[in-house]
Amino acid sequence: MAQTADLPLLSEAHAAFVQRHTSMNVAGRDAHNRPALARGLGIRVAPDRLTLTVYLSTTHSARLLQCLRDCGAIAVAVTRPTTHETLQFKGRVREILPLSDEDRAEMAAYQDSFAAELEPLGYRRDFVRQLLAGSEHGVAVVFEPTAMFDQTPGPKAGEKLGEKP
């Protein structure tokens, strides 16, 4: 299961899965190991799939961002609401950057896909807009995943799909 550092944990299919139609949540912790949590506003997989960038709001997830800055440990769960298919990544934060134009375009495309995913479940656009509130004050959290887990509810939940040394 352990992989060499220069090979990505994510397959191309994993990368395609996480970037659209999903709901994502990000966890960190403080110096006393108290957890912090916030909704991710989009996620982008680098072309080499070695790093992921998750977008967070500075106004809506201030405590989590502080934890990520202070401690660097990050967990990100990504689930597709209509199928419950879920992945969780654990890793280390590399850097926290202001949004680029490319990031903003990526966030907008993701958010459209998320709204489309929730629409058949009966959730209107303004509901989804509130879920993703704070996007205008976004930052890009770049992290390197060191472990990936299948978290789809069922017998295989919790199975480790890959790990880096």
Partner: protein, 438 residues
């Protein structure tokens, strides 16, 4: 804590999954999805423990967790800082959560996957809304106090169980807009509940029975806990389970409930620590009943319980002036009434009517009627050894209401008519032939 748990209870309806973050002792965070966050009281929530997971491993080692819930209408998100206290694997909280989880599982297509192993109880340390400007547009939960007040006023006018039941159901319909409801009384000796009044069904179902532990009503009774389910679930449906159980059906009255209730609310009626019955409401709409409905109907069930208890105690008193006897004119076709002493079931012209205590009472009344009597008192029934009535807690008045309603529905030529407090008359309008040896 500036935001109270009560003010965000709508977030706990299970419409959308909640998320939980925990942290291992080595400092590795974990984030997972939760099927159910359950409001316990103003300082505690319980989370459903379904799988042996990293979340569970973490909280057992490091009890702090952060849970995020969504308001199902506005999309506002709230974060709860929690501290794990204990896990309950039986009892009222566990059974309530199990029933609700069945609803959520069914709604989300996860019935085969979800099984409640335990209710993890957490103390709520802090509640935070992620939206900095949320206070202005936070929706107010619907206020049920005026409806509750109107119902309580109706009940306060009632002097006997029969009018209490009528006013209760009328009040639920009028003030709560409830379309389908029933009241079941607990038969402690038999360990089951029987329907004594209902609202909004094609057949009243009066006399139909529910076993303790069976479906939402049976679990609410057995655990003496309210149960509210917001979605259709096969696990707690009555219709099919009951039909399966009642293969012969000969001596059973069909349960009147909806075939596919999408919302169910069962309130135990308890007084003096004793289970008296269950108040049950249901709807074809999902998410029909809110936490506020649950609060209000629980208060109402408490009120009903005390009233029932009071009527039990004064049900033995008798009016000084019994009503004038009315002659019973028995003519028309003779009707055959047969008693099966094994369970006191009574058949009228071969059709099942009633059984148990109510069956024994009817038989006694008909035998006495054959001797020329038509006026009776509750007290003499209570003292009649042949009826083998359980102790006073059995609620004789409820048996009489049941018998009265069954007669009205099935044999209108036999009527129980109240003539005063603790007194009634048996009116027999056709000749009766008694077949039985009791």
């Amino acid at each position: 804590m500036s935001i109270t748990l009560e003010s965000i209870r709508r977030c706990f309806e299970g419409a959308l999954p909640a998320q939980i973050a925990t942290c291992a002792l080595d400092g590795t965070p974990n984030v997972a999805y939760l099927s159910q966050v359950h409001y316990v009281d103003s300082e505690h929530v319980a989370l459903s423990f379904q799988f042996f997971s990293k979340t569970r491993e973490n909280v057992l080692a490091n009890p702090y967790a952060q849970v995020q819930v969504m308001e199902p209408v506005t999309g506002l998100q709230y974060q709860l800082a929690l501290q794990y206290l204990r896990t309950e694997t039986e009892g009222p909280l566990f059974e309530y959560m199990k029933a609700r989880l069945a609803g959520v599982a069914s709604q989300t297509g996860m019935s085969k996957v979800f099984r409640l192993r335990g209710s993890d109880v957490y103390r709520v340390l802090d509640i935070h809304c992620t939206e900095p400007h949320a206070q202005q547009d936070k929706p107010m939960p619907e206020n049920r106090m005026p409806a509750l007040r109107a119902c309580v006023q109706r009940l306060a006018k009632c002097a006997d169980l029969s009018s209490l039941l009528d006013e209760l159901l009328a009040g639920l319909a009028r003030h709560f807009g409830i379309e389908h409801a029933m009241v079941l009384m607990f038969d402690a000796a038999a360990g089951r509940l029987y329907t004594v009044a209902s609202l909004g069904y094609a057949e009243s179902g009066v006399g139909s029975e529910v076993m303790l532990g069976e479906g939402v009503i049976g679990v609410a009774a057995g655990q003496q806990t309210p149960i509210r389910i917001a979605y259709l679930t096969g696990d707690y449906a009555y219709s099919r389970a009951l039909r399966d159980r009642l293969g012969d059906c000969e001596k059973e009255i069909p349960f009147p409930g909806l075939a596919e209730p999408h919302s169910q609310l069962a309130m135990p009626i308890v007084a003096g620590g004793r289970l008296l019955g269950v108040l049950y409401a249901e709807s074809e709409q999902k998410l029909r009943f809110t936490y506020e409905d649950e609060d209000a109907l629980m208060a109402l069930a408490g009120q009903i319980g005390f009233a029932m208890q009071a009527f039990e105690h004064n049900g033995e008193s008798v009016d000084e002036q019994p009503g004038a006897p009315a002659p019973s004119a028995s003519d028309g076709t003779e009707v055959a009434v047969k008693l099966y002493p094994a369970d006191n079931s009574v058949f009228v012209d071969g059709e099942y009517l009633i059984k148990g205590v109510a069956g024994a009472i009817l038989w006694k009344l008909l035998r006495d009627h054959a001797q020329g009597r038509s006026e009776f008192s509750n007290r003499e029934l209570r003292l009649d050894a042949s009826l083998r009535l359980p102790d006073i807690s059995d609620n004789l008045e409820a048996r009489l209401i049941l018998l009265q309603k069954r007669l009205a529905e099935r044999c209108p030529f036999l009527r129980i008519e109240k003539t005063g407090r603790g007194r009634f008359r048996l009116a027999v309008e056709r000749p009766v032939r008694l077949e039985g040896n009791a």
